[in-house]
């Protein structure tokens, strides 16, 4: 075969390959153009019969032709395979906006989340988290906290007591009550741990309050206590202002005004500027020396601050909730909004 003829064969073969419209046609074309009985194969087998001076040129030309056509077949094959797959994929089309296969996820209760948030803010500056009993001795809830025996907060109109349930006589400081505040853990914690103390105490508390939009017989508080050899009123202010910024946002402003609690002296209330108004957010103060004495600390050696905040109030303010009953009704339409 002369080289001119070879060029024609290649051109024709290439056309056949590229004209193949499916894989079967391509196989036929491959066999016709490159198979054993193809013109090129025949020519290749005839190389040995050529004059020695032409063998080399013709041989190289034929080899190149085989390479070219083989590549053309592979290209075409890839293209046809892709086309065939595209057809299958098109048949496999689905509507991804159909809401199938969504993994279930519930929600945390907002009060739990809020308590964790508050605890984490204080953990970040080295306060540990402790919890205490809900059914508590009057001693820890009142006496150890410098609350006089006649104080109205001890009355049954404020505090829930329990009926005798065994043969033990419980009266005065030994009487059992549902704690009205998380503050009893102040005394319990100090009894068990020598100073310094840096702790926050989240938990459930109880009052004889009938239900309305802002009152519930069961609610939650977070207590905080820092006791060391050199704590001053400025530490109280700065630490709680830090909390307010972390919890309500970096721009939260705070204001401290005098107040009265039996277990702190001086006492204060912290107001937070939120949604264009000053809101009473928590009570705090320097731990009263009588509290230190009640738990066996020497009031001449240590000072400290304590604070207590209502978890429901924090959550209601931060999330625009106006009815405390939402927390306890377990309505999934409400719980589902907690994030």
């Amino acid at each position: 075969m002369d080289l001119e003829r070879l060029a024609g064969v290649i051109r024709d073969a290439r056309a056949r390959i590229e004209a193949a419209s499916d894989l079967d046609e391509l196989s036929a074309a491959e066999s016709e153009t490159l198979g054993r009985r193809s013109e090129i194969a025949v020519a290749r087998s005839g190389i040995g019969r050529l004059a020695p001076d032409r063998r080399r040129d013709v041989g190289r030309a034929i080899n190149e032709a085989v390479g070219t056509l083989t590549a053309a077949v592979e290209d075409r094959r890839s293209a046809l395979q892709a086309e065939a797959e595209n057809v299958l994929l098109e048949q496999d089309r689905i509507d991804l906006t159909l809401p199938y296969g969504r993994p279930a996820r519930g929600t945390h209760h907002l009060l739990t989340r809020t308590m964790e948030d508050v605890c984490d803010v204080f953990r970040a500056i080295g306060y540990e988290v402790a919890e205490g009993p809900e059914l508590e001795l009057a001693w820890y809830n009142f006496d150890a906290l410098n609350t006089p025996p006649t104080h109205p907060s001890r009355f049954e109109s404020d505090t829930m007591y329990v009926e005798p349930f065994d043969d033990r006589e419980r009266s005065g400081p030994d009487e059992l009550l549902l704690r009205t505040q998380t503050s009893p853990m102040q005394a319990r914690f100090m009894e068990k741990n020598p100073p310094p103390v840096y702790v926050v105490v989240p938990g459930r508390v109880f009052r004889t309050d009938t239900w309305d939009a802002t009152h519930s017989p069961v609610f939650h508080q977070i207590e905080g206590l820092a006791v060391d050899s050199d704590i001053t009123f400025g530490d109280l202010k700065g630490t709680l202002a830090y909390f307010a910024r972390e919890f309500f946002g970096v721009s939260a402003r705070t204001r401290f005004v005098p107040h009265f609690f039996p277990f702190t002296e001086p006492s204060a209330e912290m107001l937070v500027w939120f949604n264009d108004e000053w809101l009473e957010m928590l009570g705090c103060g320097m731990v009263d020396p009588n509290v230190f004495e009640a738990v066996g600390y020497d009031p001449a050696e240590v000072t400290g601050f304590a604070f207590g905040m209502g978890v429901e109030r924090l959550a209601m303010v931060r999330h625009g909730i106006t009815d405390i009953r939402h927390f306890y009704d377990s309505d999934l339409r409400v719980l589902g909004q907690f994030r």
């Binding site: 929600t107 109205p152 049954e156 349930f165 719980l335």
Partner: protein, 798 residues
Amino acid sequence: MKVPIGWLADFIDLPTRDPYELERILVSLGHEVEGIEEFGPSFEGVVVGRVEEARPHPDADRIRFCRVDDGTATRDVVCGAWNFEAGAVIAYARAGSRLGTDTDQPLEVGSRKIRGIVSHGMFASARELGLGDDHDGIMVLNDLGAATDDDLGRPLEEVIGLGDVVLDVSITTNRGDCMGIRGLARELAAYWEIPLRDISPSFPTGPEPSAFEVSINDVEACPRFVAHQVDDVRIGPSPLWMQLRLLAIGQRPISNVVDVSNYVMWELGHPIHTFDAEAISGGKVIIRRAEEGERLETLDGVERPLAAGDILVTDPSGPIALAGVMGGASTEVSAKTTSVLVEAANWHPPSILSTSWRLGLRSEASARFERGVDPNLSALATARTVELVAMTSGGMPRSGAVDCYPIPRRPWTVDLTARDVSRLLGPAPSFGDALALLERLGFGSDRDGRSARVTVPTHRSDVTRPADLVEEIARLHGYDRFPDLVRHGSRGGLTPEQLAVRRLREALVGAGLTEAQTLSFIGQDDLDALGLPLEDPRRVTIRVKNPLREEEAILRTTLLPGLMGAMSRNVARGMKSVRLFETGRVFTARDDPEDPRIPFQPVHLAMVLSGSGEDAFAATGLVDLMARVTDRKLELRQESLPGLHPGRGAVVTCGTTEIGMVGELHPAAVRKFGLEGRIAVAEMDLGPLVSGNPPWMLEDVSAYPPMVFDLAFVLADTVPAGRLLEVVEESAGPYLESLELFDEFRGGSIPDAHRSLAVRITLRAMDHTISDGEAAPIGRGIAAAVADRLGGVLRGSI
């Protein structure tokens, strides 16, 4: 306490009357301002007029025809009131004026024909003007000392001085001294460093001293009793200026003597009681504690049983007043009273508190006595009352008061050191500045270097220790002026238990459960609804002594009733699928092992699941999830459990400890909670589940392929699948990587009461590929163990 700004100005020259600035200052001193309101007129266009003529209406008996001068003209008015004559200066609501402008439906006053005569407007009563309850006649301003002929035509609100702004101040329980206008003025005077303009009552006196003998049987109950008699009293209305101040603070004007008592209480913070002196028998007043069984009719007409410990004012015939709480009916000042005994006494605060709460008689007076009143104020309060009673009733005071004050309260001292101040407040204010602040508040100080002896004024009974003085210093210095320092501790971690509880909650929420918080109270009905037998430990409960409702009278021993209630409410609202969990304390009647003084209150976790596909397996699957999260081996021991479906319940054990149960609620219990269908539940004690684990260690993984094969066994139905898995696990040898039960089959060639269970076993070695030849004896060993221990027959061969 309502504080009219104009009233404060009686005692101090206010640098500002801006209510918001006053609010800011009071709040900075610890006196919260809960509201600001104006005590203004509720009328428009009412002027002072003078009645020129008043004669019977020609065509009606009960009304009169009048002519009134309103300063510009004389007009005709028809009036139904008869409490005035020509010459009276009255409140004239002209045609076009409006009354009741603070209500939804103000009255437009017009000209209208009454029995043939056109009445141009009307004469107004106090009630029509929003100035009290009096509607027996019109307001006669000259009788009330409120207006004269010179005021004709002037707007009424201007003439009588309406428009004061009233601050509603909340006084903390430690500050009885601020329960009066004078006390708050004293605080403001200290703030501004200006003098307090105190009152010094004066009045004429008759020749005779007060004809009463006072004896105090219990000095703790009554540290001081001051009484002063005023004769020739004429009971009538108090002057309008006094009535307006009482109205501004929300007190109803009643009569001159009663109004004066209230006025002085508000002004000085010292409650006053007045007796009809002639109704006291024997000229003798005895102060003593009540005895059990005594009774007293109080001036509200209620006969009240007294308790031992109540403090009484008595005369030789018996009790005449419940001290500090309410007067007695027999000695009440009435319209016929002509001689009044004014009492300013000091009572034991806890006794007053206990009596007033027991009887539900909390009043402005008891609120002051509960906080404590300075006994040294009693003489001034008596004198001020006598002065105003004499002024408003024409009465003549006796020549002197009876003052029984066995142990006068004297100022006390507190030793304060510079360190007391600086260790609580830091470097500022300096000790010198601190003492100066105390002096502004009326404390005396005698400084000796780094310490001082501070004298406390007797109205500050709340101040007895250095810390109390430090609060006073900080308060007046200004809380805003202290620095903000962030105080760091040294332990910010969670305990392993706290961490485990958080991870459990995360896992359950991730598994699609929603966390609920339910009340800690349940009712007897809840325990009955669960079908718990009498001996069930959850029936050993603690009852609340003073529950809000009987359905909430018991402290919960299980979380299930709360969650079932939540489920019922959600289903009633149309929720198809409800998956809830809760963690919370339950209450046992056993002693807490760590503090045997209190009952043990373990933290439980419970869940309830209902809806399509929710059955016992959903709950056991979640128990398994909890086991994986806490890295515990939890096992199920299926048995018939109280409250649960007899064939679908199991005890959950952790090691040798039973920690709870899982399964489906008994259909009877489901119905009791108003529900239907399957409800899967689980409840566990979290304690054993979350106690600390040592850190887990990574196990190396193999580079060789696994050998996987399936074995199926025919087993009696009595063999739990869990047992099969246990036996396979124990007999599979060291190469066992995982084990899965993938098929349960009944029928076909399987005998009755039997089933086929198929397990897929994956073996893998760390150091070689396990061949078929190596796996076959392992499979045979498993089959032998299952046959031997469970009676299982291998299907097919190995």
